[in-house]
Amino acid sequence: MTAAAPARVRDLPADKTASAAGLTAVAMSGGLDSSVAAWLLAEQGEGPVVGLSMLLWDAIKEEGGPPAGTAGDGRCCGALDLGDAKRVAQQAGIPHYTLRMDAEFRDRVVDPFVDDYLAGRTPSPCVRCNTWVKFDLLLDRARRFGARRLATGHYARIVDGPAGPELHAAAHAGKDQSYFLFELGREQLATSVFPLGELSKDEVRAVARRAGLAVAGKGESMDLCFVAGGVEEFVEREAARRAVRAQASVSRGERAAVPGDGSRDGLAQLGAGAALVDRAGRELGRGAPYYRYTVGQRRGLGVSSTGGTAAGGGRLYVLAIDADANRVTVGSAEELARPAFTGRGLHWINPELDLAAADAATAGVEATVKIRSRHPGVAARVRPLAGGRCEVEFSDPQHGVAPGQAAVFYRGSRVLGGCWIA
């Protein structure tokens, strides 16, 4: 492979080539939503449209081939779904190209996903994929052949505001996906198009039926497009590979620089049951390996409250995960509730709007905060700290504040920005 990082495209001045005049690229996964987005754009006829699909995960290369007869079916990176994208593009009368981006997807999404798992965090691969693959690399690649804008099938809206483009929740709250887009910047919003932002899922399906799109009957795509079977098995396989690579590099006399668990003695723990302890550190039993737990999880802990102990006999929840010690702290619902958390990677979409007040740095910014994609949101105060960190204080203590998840700030329908729960 080429050693140098891919060159980035300079800003495009007014373009003289006919092919490049106002070209809009639409990201097509082969699923229902992005197919309808492409169809609507083509139907509007406001300029040339090109459909793009990303080959993100080469199952044959990564996994030695899918089971016979199942090649990628139903997975958004599978070859069959890319075939669906091509069919829809033909129906919409637009050209379609598939761009190979599997190396970038591994670097920017899959490896961090495994890192998160092995560190006991709850990963958010979809946010990372949007920020670091779709709205960054894909648009960059599309600019090389003249695209000016990138459209996707996300349910979210872009609204022109006093400080530039704003990101807003979709018109229909039930399908809103703005949570997954919080890391976008204004420059990206200025070149993005969300044709589904005003539509409900039913309306989208109706468009597909009316247009006779090949994907009209398709269900929702899976969240973890690159994981065919169980997530834990996937992570264990990846971790085992890392360990092999790490040992190989150690035996070559190189510094073991493999991220995650591979370079520690953690591999020995891979598969070893975690110690389940209460907040006082008393061991209640042995459970599954630590990375099989998520903060806030209640079911399948491997220890029952009736075993009885300091937790007080009620239902038990995962409170915290210590990857290094292979230890999972459990406790009651009351112990799970947290009044505040520290965030990292703090991002504001329109800082002039939301940080302009003189006391923003000290008193903080009031917002409704969602701490996972399906969270209803809670009133909170966000205080920026040094180094892109922040302190988020809830009006009411919240359950399931899981390190690794995105916390997204809203005011009304507008997304102010967000951070990662540390």
Binding site: T2, A7, R8, L55, K86, R143, R144
Partner: protein, 390 residues
């Protein structure tokens, strides 16, 4: 688009010759029949299939009985390589060139995984395999050698006759994948001296879905498909009569028009290659001095991403390729170019232009103008690699 798009990817597939279509149409309409049936419908279909087989044989200078009709060149190549593995009990060696078509490389990979030894002889930087290197890899336990006649990407012609002579001396059967060569250059089995030869009709204005495997008398083949006595038990399946009829018609036309075709293709190719040196500074023509197909130009534009260039050209109405088309339709550095020792950045900066009989000099000129414009545009957009490093 004001003008219709220009197709310049004939090594991927070619448009159906209208005369071939005319020959096929009765078998897509009023005529039908299973060639194995005893009755009059079967008899008529059998006659059509055997007439086509004779056309295939005539094009190759062979006899009809030596021709096995298949569904694709891939199937024919698979049958020979996998068959050699089965006949040998998965022991011994297979020698192939390192830039054979994937249907040979992947089949060799399968028998290798099952226990055979596979030796891959790399072509030189000029895209030509050294006959001595290939012959030198032949051992007493070598069960099969494979050398394509024309490389599908750079279009270079390989020294098949010389390798065939060496194979004959050592008693090693030779498979010649001539899929890219047939219909563009003279191909006769007598001159080549190979034991197996494959061709595919859609590469020379015949239909998709009909191909052929020629076997030297006495050469042995393990059938890939079983369950019927068709093709003398060498390939079970009801014959695809319309496509086979089309293959026969395409072979007939290719045999009669070959000289004109070579001339027409070479004129277009030479016009393009002369023009591109003027129109696009820095263009690198691959395998320029090697013996080549008359219709193929493979060239790199250093600092330009082949994928972006391909898409720009397609949007502008000129359809080329960045290498061999693969199933997922994506662009990646091809193993064939890597085998020639081409650095990945040069391989990724390359496109393949393959002309066909329906292309015109005017199309070549318009393509040159578009190519110059799009390469210049990409160079303007993308910093040169040196700037990136700095």
């Amino acid at each position: 688009m004001d003008t219709p798009p220009v197709y310049l990817d004939h090594n991927a597939t070619t448009p159906l010759d209208p005369r071939v279509r005319s020959a096929m149409l009765p078998w897509l309409g009023e005529r039908h029949g299973n060639p194995s049936s005893v009755h009059r419908f079967g008899q008529a279909a059998r006659e059509a299939v055997e007439a086509a087989r004779e056309e295939v044989a005539a094009l190759l200078g062979a006899r009809a009985a030596e021709v096995v009709l298949t569904g694709s060149g891939t199937e024919a190549n698979n049958a020979v390589v996998l068959g050699a593995g089965r006949r040998s009990g998965l022991s011994g060696r297979i020698v192939i060139s390192a830039f054979e078509h994937p249907s040979v490389r992947a089949a060799a990979g399968l028998v290798e995984a099952a226990g055979m030894e596979v030796v891959r002889v790399r072509p030189g930087a000029d895209g030509v395999v050294d006959a001595g290197a290939m012959s030198g890899a032949l051992t007493p336990d070598t069960r099969l050698a494979c050398l394509m006649l024309a490389n599908n990407e750079v279009g270079t012609l390989q020294p098949v006759a010389a390798v065939a002579a060496a194979c004959r001396e050592r008693g090693v059967p030779l498979l010649c994948d001539a899929v890219q060569a047939v219909g563009k250059v003279p191909v006769t089995v007598g001159e080549l001296g190979c034991d197996f030869l494959t061709l595919g009709g859609h590469k020379f204005h015949g239909p998709l879905g009909a191909a052929a495997l020629w076997l030297r008398p006495g050469a042995e083949l393990e059938p890939l498909l079983v369950g019927g006595s068709q093709e003398r038990r060498r390939r079970a399946s009801t014959e695809n009569v319309p496509a086979v009829v089309g293959l026969g018609a395409a072979c007939d036309l290719a045999r009669r028009e070959l000289a004109d075709r070579r001339r027409h293709l070479a004129v277009l190719r030479d016009r393009f290659e002369a023009g591109v040196r003027e129109a696009v500074p820095g263009a690198v023509l691959h395998a320029a001095d090697a013996p080549r197909l008359p219709n193929t130009s493979h060239l790199a534009f250093p600092g330009v991403e082949g994928e972006a260039l391909l898409i720009r050209l397609d949007l502008a109405g000129f359809s080329v390729s960045t290498g061999s088309a693969c199933a997922s339709g994506t662009v990646e550095p091809s193993p064939g170019l890597s085998a020639m020792g081409m650095p990945p950045e040069e391989a990724l900066a390359s496109i393949r232009v393959s002309f066909g009989m329906t292309n015109t000099s005017d199309e070549v000129d318009r393509f040159l103008a578009a190519l110059a414009r799009e390469v210049a545009e990409l160079r303007r957009l993308m910093p040169a690699p040196a700037e990136v490093v700095a």
